[in-house]
Symmetry: C2
Subunit: 453 residues, 2 copies
């Protein structure tokens, strides 16, 4: 008999603290700047859209931040998530490598995003907020915030990137079942949306624009705050529960990863699984590698530049020093909608810049090929975003086979693909196109970066 396929933890073993990489990273991230003054952002700049507890987490330099018991209670709905040994995939790849994956698709909302939506809803509720506005690309974050708002009895309004709104009508219904209001972006409800519609009435939208719409909505109403599903430090912080659990689980299995892999859009899933392991590297305890996988259609780390840029099209959010393709970048309508963001977490960016993180980009057809292999072996149909991590894991496993060396691979399966079947249909019909980012166009996007002294 094989060892256990799923390495489980009890609810009592849910981590009681999140890990804050800011305490340990050798070079601190550059300070975010206020887009109006170009001076470093102050906590007061953020109070119109975030509650103070989240602002404190955003800037904290403490290594460990306590998770309130009220949040743990909600995490217990689905956490700890299983760590699964991909025996069948290993066999199919004929690799000496051991492959583990953390199944974040086990959450009711279908992805890791609930790890941050729950605390964000909790801290906002505690601060007296009645309504949260947000954006969603693939729909995973919108679903997770809708779910959290239903648990905490908050109103939820979701600006959904129009191409996803069209490709995934059932994602919309999913959010509505939890009681959320879902608006395709660009919309005519905000200045940012109207400006784009005036120039390009058939715009398919982008995460950057949808963020502007949600922020504008939140600024305009005192009962409303804004919630972001990735990029920001407090979101990354909440997501470290993935890697913290995975560490405990691998320890139970008597194992430790040589490489930790995550799909990378804004960075929250990748950072969530990788940062608790990178902590061991900072302290000299291990030489674990961290591999971020992104689409060639939106190659922020592999083709972007490390510079100050706006987080959104409307220039409402703080300016971050990050890898960026330019805030005016409009990626092709690829199916991994959650990875269509021009920028990148400042923490991930700094660590990538400093050589602690590697990155790879893959085309769509490679991704779906990996997704089908995985589904047929392991049973789970992954979200196209998650299939990037699978593709990365397969690459590492095949390298191990070539080298005739074992190695331990850990990746994050960020979510299931139950609302991505139209994309699978397209792939099965042979109609999926590879649409790598046009480098000439990229140069023009990069010319629109703000001037920072």
């Amino acid at each position: 008999m094989l060892s256990d396929k799923k390495i489980s933890l009890s609810e009592a073993e849910i981590p009681r603290q999140w890990y804050n990489v800011q305490a340990d990273m050798p070079n601190k991230m550059a300070p975010p700047l206020n887009p109006a003054t170009m001076k470093p952002v102050t906590p007061e700049d953020l109070t119109p859209i975030f509650p103070m507890e989240l602002i404190k987490q955003e800037v904290s330099q403490e290594r460990w931040i306590d998770i309130p018991e009220e949040i743990v209670e909600k995490y217990r709905i689905w956490r700890p998530t299983p760590l699964i040994r991909a025996y069948e995939l290993e066999k199919a790849l004929d690799t000496p490598a051991k492959i583990y994956y953390k199944n974040e698709g086990a959450s009711p909302a279908g992805s890791h995003k609930a790890n941050s939506s729950i605390p964000q809803a909790y801290y906002n509720k505690a601060a007296g907020i009645k309504r949260l506005a947000t954006e969603t690309g693939a729909g995973q974050w919108g679903s997770a915030l809708s779910f959290a708002c239903s648990l905490y009895d908050l109103e939820c309004i979701v600006y959904m990137v129009k191409i996803s709104y069209q490709q995934k009508p059932y994602r919309r219904s999913f959010m509505q079942v939890y009681g959320a209001q879902v608006i395709p972006s660009p919309s005519d409800r905000t200045q940012a949306g109207r400006e784009v519609l005036a120039v390009q009435p058939d715009s398919l939208g982008s995460l950057g624009l949808a963020i502007s719409e949600a922020v504008e909505d939140a600024i305009g109403r005192p009962d409303t705050n804004y919630a972001l599903g990735s990029v920001l430090n407090h979101v990354i912080l909440h997501q470290t529960i993935i890697g913290l659990e995975a560490k405990k689980q691998l320890e139970k299995a008597g194992d430790y990863p040589d490489v930790v892999i995550g799909a990378c859009g804004g960075g929250s899933n990748f950072a969530g699984i990788a940062f608790p392991f990178l902590a061991d590297r900072f302290s000299g305890k291990s030489s674990v590698r961290a591999l971020a996988v992104e689409p060639t259609a939106c190659p922020t780390l592999t083709k972007g530049i490390f510079a100050y840029d706006y987080g959104d099209l409307g220039k409402l959010t703080p300016i971050l020093k990050m890898y960026t393709l330019g805030h005016t970048f409009m990626p092709s309508g690829i199916h991994a909608g959650g990875l269509r963001y021009h920028g990148e977490s400042a923490l991930v960016s700094q660590l990538y810049h400093d050589g602690f993180i590697e990155a790879l980009a893959f085309n769509q057809r490679d991704i779906f090929d990996a997704a089908l292999t995985f589904a047929k072996c392991e049973g789970i149909i992954p979200a196209p975003e998650s299939a990037h991590a699978i593709r990365g894991a397969i690459t590492e496993a095949l390298k191990a086979r070539e080298e005739g060396k074992s190695r331990t691979i850990l990746f994050s399966l960020s979510g299931h693909g139950h609302f991505d079947m139209a994309a699978y249909d397209t792939y099965l019909a042979g109609d999926t196109r590879d649409v790598p980012c046009d480098e000439a166009q990229l140069a023009s996007y990069l010319s629109c970066l703000p001037k920072v002294e």
Copy 2:
């Protein structure tokens, strides 16, 4: 702090034997009859469509049947499933009752159906079969068999009831990702399908007809067997793993149910959770109640009669003594496609007839109302089939509140509703209609039963 929300078992605690209710039920079920000879079916009658191991299970009177280790290995992909305490639902209902549910939606195929598709694929593979034909209503069984066939490298052909095929295009894609071929039924590939199309070209199909098509397909090819997702004794047998796990889990929680509830179409989910508990009632150890919940649109137990009838429209399957609405019954196109079957497991029927099982029927709008309440409290969006069990549990919980008495309620959440969002859309738009079965029409269906001496 509350007790654990999820009561987990380790993989080592997966039951190693299925429970066979035939060993214990006070009155045996009447023998199935061969539709050609009207004599009791012999094992030889069944060999054209089933492997001998499953035929043996069909007729076995042994109380416990060993689960081969090769099947346990596949069960370990997702089993044991969590038993979850519905704290949030209890709070919302303000009930003194304790509500537990077994989340069978945790399977990669999305429902309890994989509990039987895995052993069926295994025994067929072991018997040298290359290809399995089946039918599917809601798509849950078709998905589960597609999943199992991909794990065992078997071809899979699924006749999908046309109304479900239309209502759930992504269920089709889901099966195709696993490599299955999906055909809307009625089709022109079989005699049974062609006969219906000749009379009624726009027929929406039924489970009874799709069964005929799949059986005909299997009879016609020596490399092909047939696989059924409910009704038959061996399917019920495999599903008892649900109740067996739930018993271990409740024991860990120090609890025992007053009532066990399942949605009831062909009976496999209901029997799967209820029979291991009814075993205690047969042996005088408990007085646990078993409650089957069905739709008013297809009220087999609550409005049908207990008589010999065909299992399918084409009269190819054995004649079973069961509760039936008549094999010509064509239920309305309600959204719980998995519960649109005219008949019922002979085992469930006999036990219902003998007073060991209670039954309730609910209208569609009641069901979706319960589903939304559950989703907002517990986070999980249930399949409409499963929402019948939720509705039953809520009814029991409200009764407990009225009586001011605690009681322990256990229900089976047979699957998630990720491929039922169109049905939720209809409900949210206020367009869901209640379509109870027409009693005058029912009388005419019941006049078509076979004459048995």
